[in-house]
């Protein structure tokens, strides 16, 4: 086992011998659950304030245009309107961005994508605000948009999305970021010659939307000190604050954020949406301002998953050992950088999947275009790669006349394998075991002679009674990193207080970690119960009064904020034992063996040494700790070599589909998954993550795509952008493995994303098995199956 380099947290299982009820490992109930089922949980769109105004946004109908004039006269004149602001009204910096500050808060003299904000309005009723926005007269000089990475690469013909003089990204031309990876001998003619079999393929992934149900929304309340309090649904309050302060011209102590209820996120709330706009309006009018996007505006108000074009070549020996993989990926980053650079890093470093391959050459790049900005979505670059490499593995298996699971197992990484970045996989990597588990699960029964319509493709549309329906089975596996990569310092902070309330020891946990539905608040309480041996834990509302927790992204919060809570609890425990040393003369040696369990201080033999409430007496013990996972490194620009990722996570899927081959309709019959999570801190929550990710992958496989034509979004509604309903989503059998990662708190592995990768290629593989069609693009649509 590799040496533990984790700072702050020892390796191993919970310290207490007697597990606390609802501690680590239990399916503890959500602390917000009762409020949520009663309808009493306050989401960001539910907030209300005396004298509150409503804000709205005027957005560009054109993807690329010069703005010749903006006339707000008619809008301001409308009764009930309190403010109409353009970029000229911004007191501070006019640009923001998560990694690269290239995005204007409100358009300045030009627009670069369909839906770019130009002006904001505050009025006494949302309809008044909308009508006022419609009265703002904008004169455009409309320009032909840059609509694809291909056009973007040809700057001589199409020009620049951002003029070279204003260019802020890392690369040049229209390239946001490029990452190459070369390992072994790369992919040369000599290497190619060593392969008996070669398969090549071009793949395409459409633009997927996070489609969280709670629309972007929040309430900004101006404060007497000249600052502003923002109640907001976001994934990372401190990153919002960092971007907002320069724009508002205020220091951090005057831009205070409190997390409101978050109705899902999936990456779509990493970037700022209405945060700055609401604060600008509130500070300008001196009144609280609420902004709630409609679903249509939501489609324009957040970044999407990068559409991708991928070209792969796999070479293997006759007995199915991979000799080389070459991959080229173009990602459409849209008009602004968002997290495109990090997405490229992920796509490149995970480009060949969870396979050990001696020779690799990868070239991945994201381009600026005039399409909608793309950034974070669950899976973050690894989803696009997984569809391509798993499609390739199926092709290779077919070419070799080999079982596709067997081929994958023969090449699967394991602990000790090297990734193409040179990083050694230094934790368990049960890739082959996951594949075998899904393969060996019992198959769902095949159709009967008189099937229920609702179980057939087309459902109650009554399009078939079984005729023309063919069943297919497909497999896929994927690899996703957990945590931010490439040297990013993404610590988390936890403050933990232990005190006696009504005779009982109570722990209070305070972090800025965004609860977005995943159950982070549950997990924080579980860790405090286990570490401090108390039954009662209160998790305080997340806000910026405590240090950053980093983002609720990248499958990282249970690891990093969980690590912070654990570390802070350990400090609290040490402080409690110090009370015993002071009061009772406990020796250092004695204290080293003590634990807290069930409200008692307990010796290694289980004997109760002291009652925790008595020991604390009137004292409150409070400790704040920062937790960092082990450091990572940037990838070398030329070779892509580097210890870039904190942790790897793995999931495998088996999909069973029925396809109506005449109409091109697909019914996913079952979607089985196996995932390793190191240790299930909360088994019910882990299952929820695997189910949810699998369903989103199914959506990308067969229905979800933002249709962009001439750089315009054509389907910004739930009528036209389809996400899986309960009828589209099959039963999902899940097998969870727990091979502990020695570097992580409790040995846990980030659980949030891996299932969103392999689900898509498994479903498509099953459709290929049913139809014999190549299907190189997702989502697969009926016309791809019927050829019409």
């Amino acid at each position: 086992m590799a040496e533990d380099t984790t700072r702050g947290t020892p390796v191993g299982l919970p310290h207490t011998t007697a597990p606390e009820r609802d501690g680590v490992g239990a399916s503890a109930p959500r602390p917000d659950g009762v409020l949520k089922v009663r309808g009493d949980f306050a989401f960001s769109s539910d907030l209300w304030h005396e004298d509150m105004l409503w804000g709205t946004t005027l957005r560009s109908p054109h993807p690329r245009a010069r703005i010749l004039a903006v006339d707000i006269t008619e809008a301001v004149a409308l009764p009930g309107v309190h403010a109409v602001l353009t970029h000229e009204d911004i007191p501070g910096e006019k640009f923001y961005g998560l990694e690269i500050a290239d995005q204007p808060v409100l358009a300045i003299d030009q627009v670069r994508y369909h839906g770019e904000p130009i002006a904001i309005v505050a009025a006494d009723h949302p309809e008044t605000a909308r009508r006022a926005a419609a009265r703002i007269a904008v004169t455009y000089d409309v320009l032909p948009p840059i609509t694809s990475p291909e056009e973007a690469a040809d700057t001589a013909s199409h020009g620049h999305v951002h003029a070279p003089a204003e260019y802020k990204a890392r690369a040049d031309g229209n390239v946001v970021h490029r990452q190459r990876i070369v390992s072994g001998a790369g992919v040369t003619d000599e290497v190619r010659a060593a392969a008996d079999v070669v398969v090549r393929g071009d793949y395409e992934v459409g633009m997927q939307d996070q489609a969280f149900l709670g629309p972007e929304s929040g309430l900004a309340v101006p404060a007497e000190d000249g600052g502003v309090d923002l109640y907001i649904a976001t994934q990372w309050m401190h990153a919002d604050q960092r971007q907002m302060c320069p724009v508002l011209g205020l220091p951090p102590d005057k831009v205070r954020l409190t997390l409101a209820g978050v109705g899902g996120a999936f990456g779509g709330r990493e970037d700022i949406s209405m945060q700055v706009h609401a604060c600008l309006l509130a500070l300008h009018t001196g009144r609280p301002v609420k902004i709630v996007y409609s679903r249509e505006e939501s489609f324009f108000g957040h970044v999407h998953r990068h559409p991708a074009w991928l070209t792969y070549e796999h070479g293997a020996t006759r007995d199915g050992k991979l000799v080389y993989v070459e991959a080229r990926m173009s990602l459409d980053g849209g008009a602004y950088a968002s997290t495109s650079a990090a997405v490229v890093g992920n796509a490149a470093s995970l480009a060949i999947g969870p396979y050990a391959v001696p020779n690799v050459a990868v070239d991945a790049a994201a381009y600026y275009t005039n399409n909608p900005p793309c950034g974070a979505m669950r899976g973050f670059g690894a989803v696009q790669a997984c569809f391509a490499y798993e499609s390739q593995m199926d092709r290779l298996a077919e070419e070799l006349a080999m079982d596709p699971v067997e081929l994958r197992c023969r090449n699967a990484v394991e602990e000790g394998s090297a990734m193409p970045t040179g990083q050694t996989v230094d934790a368990p990597a049960p890739v082959a075991e996951l594949l075998r588990r899904v393969r060996d699960m019992p198959l769902p029964p095949t159709g009967t002679d008189s099937p229920d319509l609702r179980e057939l493709p087309g459902g109650v549309s009554n399009t078939t009674h079984g005729e023309g329906v063919v069943r297919g089975i497909g497999y896929a596996v994927g690899i996703k990193n957990a945590g931010f990569s490439e040297g990013f310092d993404e610590y988390s902070t936890a403050r933990v207080r232990l005190e006696v309330i009504a005779g009982e020891p109570v722990a209070v946990v305070h972090t800025a970690a965004a609860e977005v539905g995943q159950g982070g608040v549950t997990v924080q309480g579980q860790i405090a119960r286990t570490e401090l041996g108390v039954g009662r834990v209160t998790v305080q509302p997340a806000d910026t009064r405590v240090g950053s927790a980093g983002s609720t992204s990248a499958s990282r919060q249970t690891y990093v904020t969980g690590g912070a809570v654990k570390t802070a609890c350990e400090a609290v425990r040490a402080a409690v034992f110090e009370i015993g040393m002071r009061r009772y003369g406990w020796s250092g040696e004695m204290v080293a063996g003590l634990a807290l369990a069930a409200g008692k201080v307990v010796a290694p033999d289980g004997a109760v040494v002291a009652d925790l409430a008595e020991l604390l007496g009137g004292e409150a013990v409070e400790e704040t700790r920062v937790y960092r996972h082990r450091p990572t490194q940037a990838f070398d620009k030329v070779t892509g070599q580097g210890f870039g990722h904190v942790q790897y996570t793995f999931c495998a899927h088996r999909a069973v589909v029925d396809v109506d081959t005449e109409l091109g309709l697909v019914k996913v019959v079952e979607l089985a998954a196996a995932q390793d999570v190191g240790l299930m801190v909360n088994p019910a929550a882990v299952l929820g993550q695997v189910h949810g990710g699998s369903a989103q992958g199914l959506g990308l496989a067969v229905m979800e795509e933002i249709v962009v034509a001439d750089a315009k979004v054509r389907n910004p509604s739930f009528t036209d952008y389809l996400i899986p309903t309960i009828l589209d989503t099959p039963p999902m059998r899940v097998d969870v493995l727990e091979h502990p990662d020695p570097h992580a708190p409790y040995g846990l592995r980030g659980a949030g994303e891996a299932s969103a990768l392999s689900s898509t290629p498994a479903v498509v593989s099953a459709i290929r098995a049913a139809t014999g069609l190549p299907l190189n693009r997702v989502p697969v649509r009926p016309e791809h199956l019927t050829g019409t």
Binding site: G39, G214, G263, R454, Q518, G688, H691, G692, I726
Partner: protein, 164 residues
Amino acid sequence: MRVTFTVNGRRTEADDVWEGESLLYVLRERVGLPGSKNACEQGECGSCTIYLDGEAVCACLVAAGQAEGREIRTVEGLADGARLDPVQQAFLDAGAVQCGFCTPGLIVQAHALLARQSRPSEAEIREALSGNLCRCTGYEKIMDAVRLAAERRAGGASDEGRVG
């Protein structure tokens, strides 16, 4: 305009209602009942599902004026004081709640299903809930919750406790 209706057993008046407002807006913004959610406001997602004269409908598709004189029951009106409705309890126990934005609508819809059909089949549950989108759970635990609520309503309450 003024709109008068009964909501969760209480006679309620909303004043200064603009004719273009939906019942959902009036409930959420004028009478302090934001439990019904606003995920799409065009009848696609079901997160605003309420009972209107005993019928489960999307509140976003009902014009405020259409609610005049009618009887409304929202998610806030399902529990009996501190005692949750069995459907609410089953959603908790089955682990069917993640972000919770779809939860109120799904609970009202499942409540309506079980009111008309005490032991729905698998296919009937899926059909009944097909107008309610959930983005977090993949619906697996929602199916468990509805089955659990149906079992408990049918008297098989011995399996009380958490699933998963």
